[in-house]
């Protein structure tokens, strides 16, 4: 099926407050989608519905499987999640044990666990951290460890829920580059965020507000809609905002997503 995630007429209330009403969503297989919206727009609730942490009315279909009491565990095995504060999801005393956790839960045998952990360590370049305490690592390293522990089950979908709030722009770009590489290898990535700069990574954007999808589409197309962002309390990424204004003055003919490219376009 072309869509790896489908929501059909989903209704969901939490503590007497209706969050989603007749909500529909489609996320294409193999895409790298950014879901952006101000705080309280329902983004994190969406993630919880995708993994079956909350139960909603309506149809939720993940990787061709309809979400139900019987199937939610199977679905979870196909999704990796990186939560907001890595400190609150670390379970083990060493990074290696942390990575092994999900595999231990699935009762993989020791040899297989050892190999997978090594593989993931190499992929994310965190082999040197294996014997360290997750709590003692720097912010950027914690992000990579959380990411690794989500990837260890080789999921089809990776969801990041405002996971990069605590790290600076450089580390953020590093992590997003890793995600881009993984996406190129076939992983569907969903990055839930309120930081506009992260929109420059990925191929599609969904703008949410008040439990509704205000708009969605390919990255460049959405970034051209200045009013959309303004009306939903969001800012544009710097380079897009700048190129938008330069376009107005006739110095460039379209928005640009990369700073070097913009410099080259203005001074040909």
């Amino acid at each position: 099926m072309e869509n790896i995630i489908e929501f059909k007429n989903v209704n969901f209330s939490y503590k007497d407050k209706q969050i989603f009403k007749d909500f529909n969503l489609n996320i294409k297989r193999g895409s790298f989608t950014s879901i952006i919206g101000p705080n309280g727009s329902g983004k994190s609730t969406l993630m919880k519905l995708i993994v079956g942490l909350y139960k909603a009315e309506g149809e939720i279909i993940i990787d061709n499987v309809l979400m139900s009491q019987e199937t939610y565990k199977e679905i979870r095995g196909r999704i990796g999640i990186v939560f907001e504060n890595p400190d609150n999801q670390f379970v083990a005393e060493t990074v290696m044990d942390e990575l092994a956790f999900a595999l231990e839960n699935m009762n993989y045998d020791k040899k297989e666990i050892k190999e997978r952990v090594k593989e993931i360590g190499k992929l994310l370049d965190i082999e040197s951290l294996m014997e360290k305490e997750p709590h003692s690592l720097s912010g950027g390293q914690k992000e990579l460890v959380s990411l690794a522990s989500a990837l260890v089950l080789k999921p089809k979908i990776l969801i990041l829920d405002e996971a990069m709030d605590m790290i600076d722009n450089n580390r953020r770009a590093d992590v997003l580059n890793v995600l881009t590489n993984l996406n190129n290898l076939g992983l569907t990535v969903i990055n839930i965020t309120h930081n506009s700069e992260e929109l420059l990574f990925g191929d599609s954007i969904i703008v949410m507000n008040g439990g509704e999808i205000k708009d969605q589409g390919p990255t460049k197309e959405l970034l051209r809609k200045e009013k959309l962002f303004k009306n939903n309390g969001l800012e544009l990424p710097f380079v897009v905002d700048l190129s938008y204004k330069l376009k107005y003055y006739g110095l460039v003919d379209d928005i640009v997503l990369n700073m070097d490219e913009l410099v080259n376009k203005v001074w040909k």
């Binding site: 919880k48 993994v51 942490l53 565990k73 979870r76 095995g77 999704i79 999640i81 939560f83 504060n85 400190d87 609150n88 999801q89 670390f90 379970v91 083990a92 005393e93 044990d97 092994a100 956790f101 999900a102 595999l103 231990e104 839960n105 699935m106 009762n107 993989y108 045998d109 020791k110 666990i113 050892k114 305490e133 709590h135 522990s149 989500a150 089950l153």
Partner: protein, 251 residues
């Protein structure tokens, strides 16, 4: 800041004892406890002291930490001494009682000073695994304990941060008024409580999403190696225990 070094007083340094498998350390400690119970002469106690001193030297931990542990016992030792004096017990018996106390505390200190809490949990889990025959969920209990332990530094950091925040707002921790003290306690406990519950929620979600279930069988990935030194130590301890038991039975 206040880390493993406070809980269990783990002292990180390289030594043979530090590198021993936690299971063998627990076996040795348990056997030593057994030996203390069967050593009913001053001579035997002195031999046990010799063994303890040997292990202490092997652990490369500054002796002052051990003196601290004994120092914390001083009231209990004094109490024992006086009580036995009043009850008119043989002097030798009194000495044996006091030396048993000291030996037990010394040896368990070696364990806690050379083994980080997570390893102790691992060792205990393996040590108690025969109990699984009686359907006691040893693995689950050990996992709960190890998760709780891993959060100790996080919780301490948080408590620190809250104490500092409240101090910045004017809480006087040094005030002698009871009302002030109560407010100070409330200002620490309420936020900690809420943070802990929030964290438990998030952690439970994170674990569930990684397919944790108490009903499933879990692999236990962590495998500490068992070395020659481990077999050697266990052999010595168990043999000594056997010898002591035989001797005390024969006398």
């Amino acid at each position: 800041m206040l880390n493993n070094i406070m809980i269990g007083k783990y002292y990180p340094v390289r030594s043979y004892v530090h590198l021993m498998n936690p299971l063998s350390k627990i076996i040795c400690t348990m056997t030593f406890v057994g030996m203390c119970l069967f050593a009913n002469s001053m001579l035997m106690n002195l031999c046990l002291f010799a063994l303890a001193i040997l292990m202490i030297m092997n652990s490369h931990i500054p002796v002052k930490y051990f003196f601290k542990t004994i120092k914390s016992l001083r009231f209990l030792l004094l109490f024992t001494f006086i009580l036995n004096l009043i009850l008119d017990v043989y002097f030798e018996t009194t000495l044996i009682m006091m030396s048993r106390l000291i030996l037990l505390v010394l040896y368990t200190s070696i364990l806690t000073l050379t083994t980080p809490p997570s390893e102790i949990t691992y060792g205990l889990e393996k040590f108690l695994s025969p109990l699984k025959v009686f359907h006691i969920p040893v693995n689950r209990m050990a996992l709960s304990i190890s998760i709780a332990l891993r959060f100790i530094p996080t919780v301490l950091d948080e408590a620190n941060k809250i104490l500092k925040s409240q101090a910045c707002r004017g809480i006087d921790y040094n005030s002698s008024k009871i009302k002030d003290k109560l407010v100070a306690i409330k200002a620490l406990i309420v936020p900690m409580f809420i943070l802990t519950i929030k964290r438990a929620d998030t952690l439970a979600d994170a674990m569930e999403v990684r397919l944790f279930s108490i009903y499933n069988k879990r692999t236990n990935f962590r495998q500490n190696p068992w070395g020659v030194y481990d077999s050697y130590m266990v052999f010595i301890h168990v043999s000594l225990l056997v010898i002591l038991i035989v001797r005390s039975v024969m006398i």
